[in-house]
């Protein structure tokens, strides 16, 4: 039963992935102007643009380009970035991606390590004491934090901690050999911003989910049976809330990988999201496609894991009728 559920989810994920690849290809090919024009810039002439275009293989029909691209991607070859191709050089996209993926994973990892314990703790505390001053303080502060644009949060933090207090650098400038405390200090500003934004979401969800489970019939029954409240929350409610909470965490992780353009921009952090924006500006379609595929795969994998966690934690879904 479990295996069947797993296989069917896997099948669904693969189909989704294929749909994604088509969407990405269509979307990126809608972009006006191409890399040939952008490379030549203000000084382009129609002849030189056409010549460069032919050289870059941009004159082939799109469906042909799609087939070639899909084949290569399936073989693990993400292609050559168009950047620098004018001179016949071009950089393999894998080479460009590698350090960026490392950077993104490092930031995501650090943020996650901090966010998850804090948010689960605060969310649970709030849920265990609903309506108290503590609960209200948590609810209101998280509410306020998710209600302002994240670029404002980031800018205010920079002004306070980097410009006025001078505790942390205003941008992330990695030399590449930082470890331990130095690394944390270098990454402090984006970590702080992302922790604030992401934890507000997770705290609210944890609280809401636990409260929701608390109002379900079997918990009511447990309460009627006289099981202590603390025990109900930690042993029953929390276990049943695992599915939704894992789901929220998965979504937040996916967001940290691909959705933090604004934060990466403000801190000049060389991550994947910023790379994709630069790729769009450059009309470097293979690069944009590669980044988009990474984001989608991440999302699909994370959601797959969350689904599995939901199934495993829920006896009803584990043993469907």
């Amino acid at each position: 039963m479990l295996w069947r559920a797993l296989l069917s989810r896997l099948g669904i994920s693969l189909v989704t992935l294929w749909v994604v690849s088509v969407l990405i290809f269509i979307g990126t090919n809608l972009l006006p102007g191409d890399v040939a024009q952008i490379i030549l810039g203000q000084m382009a002439t129609p002849e030189s643009t056409a010549a460069l275009r032919a050289k870059l293989g941009l004159d082939k029909p799109p469906y042909l380009q799609y087939v070639v691209w899909l084949q290569n991607v399936a073989m693990g070859d993400l292609g050559i970035s168009k950047a620098g191709l004018g001179a016949g050089l071009g950089t393999p996209i894998v080479e460009i991606l590698e350090p960026r993926i490392f950077n993104t994973l490092r930031l995501t990892g650090l943020v996650t390590v901090i966010v998850i314990p804090i948010s689960l703790f605060l969310g649970l505390i709030a849920a265990m004491h609903p309506g108290t001053r503590l609960d209200r303080a948590v609810t209101f502060s998280t509410l306020s934090l998710i209600s302002v644009p994240d670029f404002l949060v980031a800018t205010m933090l920079v002004l306070i901690f980097a410009v006025f207090l001078g505790w942390f650098p205003a941008i992330v400038y990695l030399r590449g050999d930082e470890t331990g405390w130095v690394l944390i200090k270098t990454l402090a500003m984006p970590i702080l911003t992302l922790v604030i934004v992401a934890s507000s979401q997770i705290i609210r969800m944890t609280r809401a989910t636990v409260l929701n489970v608390m109002s379900s019939p079997y918990i009511e029954m447990a309460i009627l049976k006289g099981v202590p409240r603390k025990r109900i929350i930690l042993r029953h409610a929390l276990f049943n809330a695992v599915g939704p909470i894992v789901n929220v965490i998965a979504l937040n992780l996916a967001w940290l990988v691909g959705g933090v353009v604004v934060v990466e921009q403000i801190f000049s952090y060389p991550g994947l999201a910023k790379l994709m924006v630069e790729g769009v500006l450059m009309r470097d379609l293979p690069l944009v496609q590669a980044c988009a595929m990474i984001f989608c795969v991440t999302y699909i994998v994370l959601i797959f894991i969350a689904d599995m966690a939901t199934i495993l934690s829920n006896p009803r879904l584990r043993h469907p009728k």
């Binding site: 030549l40 050289k55 769009v280 450059m282 009309r283």
Partner: protein, 525 residues
């Protein structure tokens, strides 16, 4: 501007007082705000260079398309890297004069169709091999041909061939006379690299080696111990990166995370100066403007263009948007930075809503659509001011905001009304020729004038200074009354740096003194 540099040196050496300096700058048409910054940088000239230390330089744009191939360079960060690690045949220095670099000397035949370059002996590339005529020919031939990816190949369409005469002599043959050729060779794209280069990290002969390079992230450089000339090379190392967001760039400087930032906004100047950092404000000919295509409606209507000229509140633009760090535009590209070729006799076009209204009424138009992209500094603000002022006289200017990526291919020279930015060129002739000449590929207002073509050609050959000035005056008048270009302002090149870093020059052709600061600046401990 040669004079500025001279006065700065005089001020440094104590020959003129602070008041005299400011007065002299005023006479040269430099605003008080700019003169103040020039004074600060003149004081910086007084420092004694010290060896050691390194700087982090933050440009304004970078991405996966960053390149070490000089040919493909398109942005400040590319030019900076190119200048750090490569040399050209000829270079422009402080007073806008041409100086020998890898070409020890050069000569030209009487009708400017044949140039001979003597290549400097004993210059080595970073991989240890010696520079020869072959390398020069290989590097320069890459700009030729229709399918060359060179971003400046249009400069070399008249080249018949580059030829190595012997190991240290190169001959250039042209199909038509070109007295400006040496200036074209000073472009950052025309740097010399090792023939058949495969490793771009070691292909140059410049003052700093490329230790590492990551496109869109950063590059690191260290002093080239075998550099062929003694220019100081004070810094041990240079790190080159970019911070795209304007506010983030400023914050990085204020927090001490970087030493130099390019392309600051005039609005940030006050804060930078308050914080004890230095602003480098160099008067220049670069400008942002509005192109009205003359071959289509509504730009073909002279009254419409005339009306739009009178509605530009040029003084307020320079005073408020540029905070004084710029000069008034007079609808032609040749401002005071071009020295003797600037026509100071031409009256300044005033802000005159009445006249604007008169011309716009006469044109028959009551609305128009202008395509705007953030292609340069304050151009959007200028368009918003223009729109607000036009609204007061009952003309509805619609602004269509488009992204700057893809702008040059999709909008510029295509939409009837659009915005443009032009960098300063080394000479008035090359500037006017590229934008208004009969053979120019970038006649971006589609204005054709036979007289303009004649003047461009004749003025190049004219040796009498007064006559030449007269010709330039006529050209500037033609452009400012008949073409479709509206130039409300010229902006200074604006950068900022940590006060410990000193020794910058005033070449107005790029950021931080023409992007050629590496081998001359130093950092006090």
């Amino acid at each position: 501007m040669k004079e500025v540099k001279t006065f700065q040196q005089m001020y440094r050496d104590g020959h003129v007082s602070r008041r005299e300096f400011l007065a002299a700058m005023g006479a040269l048409g430099v605003t008080a705000a700019t003169a103040g910054s020039l004074l600060t940088s003149a004081s910086a000239l007084a420092g004694t260079p010290t060896r050691g230390g390194s700087v982090i330089f933050a440009s304004n744009l970078h991405g996966p398309d960053d390149t070490l191939d000089p040919l493909l360079g398109t942005s400040t960060i590319d030019y900076t890297r190119s200048n750090a690690s490569r040399n050209g045949l000829i270079q422009i220095w402080d007073d806008m004069s041409l100086n020998a670099e890898l070409a020890e000397e050069w000569s030209v035949n009487s009708n400017a169709t044949e140039y001979t370059f003597k290549i400097r002996k004993g210059v080595t590339f970073h991989d240890g091999s010696e520079l020869t005529a072959e390398d020069v020919v290989w590097s320069m031939e890459r700009h030729l041909g229709e399918d060359s990816p060179s971003s400046i190949k249009s400069f070399f369409t008249n080249v018949t061939e580059w030829k190595a005469v012997d190991k240290y002599t190169v001959k250039l043959s042209l199909s038509s006379p070109d007295a400006d050729m040496p200036y074209k060779l000073t472009q950052p794209q025309a740097k010399i690299v090792k023939a058949n280069a495969t490793d771009w990290l070691t292909a140059g002969s410049g003052p700093y080696l490329v230790d590492s390079f990551q496109a869109g992230v950063k590059s690191t450089h260290s002093r080239n111990p075998n550099y062929w000339r003694d220019t100081g090379q004070w810094l041990d190392g240079i790190e080159i990166t970019a911070i795209t967001d304007m506010n983030a760039r400023l914050n990085a400087l204020l927090a001490g995370s970087v030493d130099m930032i390019t392309s600051i906004s005039p609005k940030q100047i006050q804060k930078i100066e308050e914080s004890g950092n230095n602003v480098l404000s160099v008067p220049a000919g670069l400008y942002g403007g509005i192109c009205c295509l003359k071959n289509t409606a509504p730009g073909e209507n002279d009254d419409l263009v005339q009306g739009l000229r009178y509605i530009q509140d040029r003084e307020r633009i320079v005073r408020k948007f540029l905070k004084g760090h710029g000069t008034l535009g007079n609808d032609h590209p040749i401002n005071v930075s071009y020295g003797a070729d600037h026509c100071h006799e031409l009256p300044q076009i005033p802000y005159d809503p009445e006249k604007a209204k008169y011309h716009l009424n006469k044109s028959g138009y009551s609305e128009a659509e202008l395509f705007v992209a953030p292609v340069t500094g304050i151009i959007e603000d200028v368009c918003l001011l223009m729109q607000a002022n036009l609204k007061k006289i009952g003309f509805n200017l619609k602004l269509k905001k488009v992204p700057s990526d893809g702008y040059w291919g999709a909008v510029w020279m295509k939409e009837p009304l659009n915005v443009v930015s032009w960098n300063m060129r080394p000479t008035a002739n090359s500037m006017m020729g590229i934008q208004f000449g009969p053979n120019g590929n970038w006649n971006d207002t589609f204005w054709n004038s036979d007289r303009m073509g004649e003047l461009l050609k004749d003025s190049l050959a004219e040796t009498d200074a007064a006559k030449r000035h007269e010709m330039h005056c006529e050209m500037q008048k033609l452009v400012s009354t008949q073409s479709g270009i509206i130039i409300p302002y010229h902006t200074n090149v604006l950068d900022a740096h940590n006060p410990k870093v000193q020794g910058f020059s005033n070449v107005p052709l790029g950021q931080f003194g023409g992007n050629q600061w590496m081998e001359h600046i130093w950092k006090n401990a």
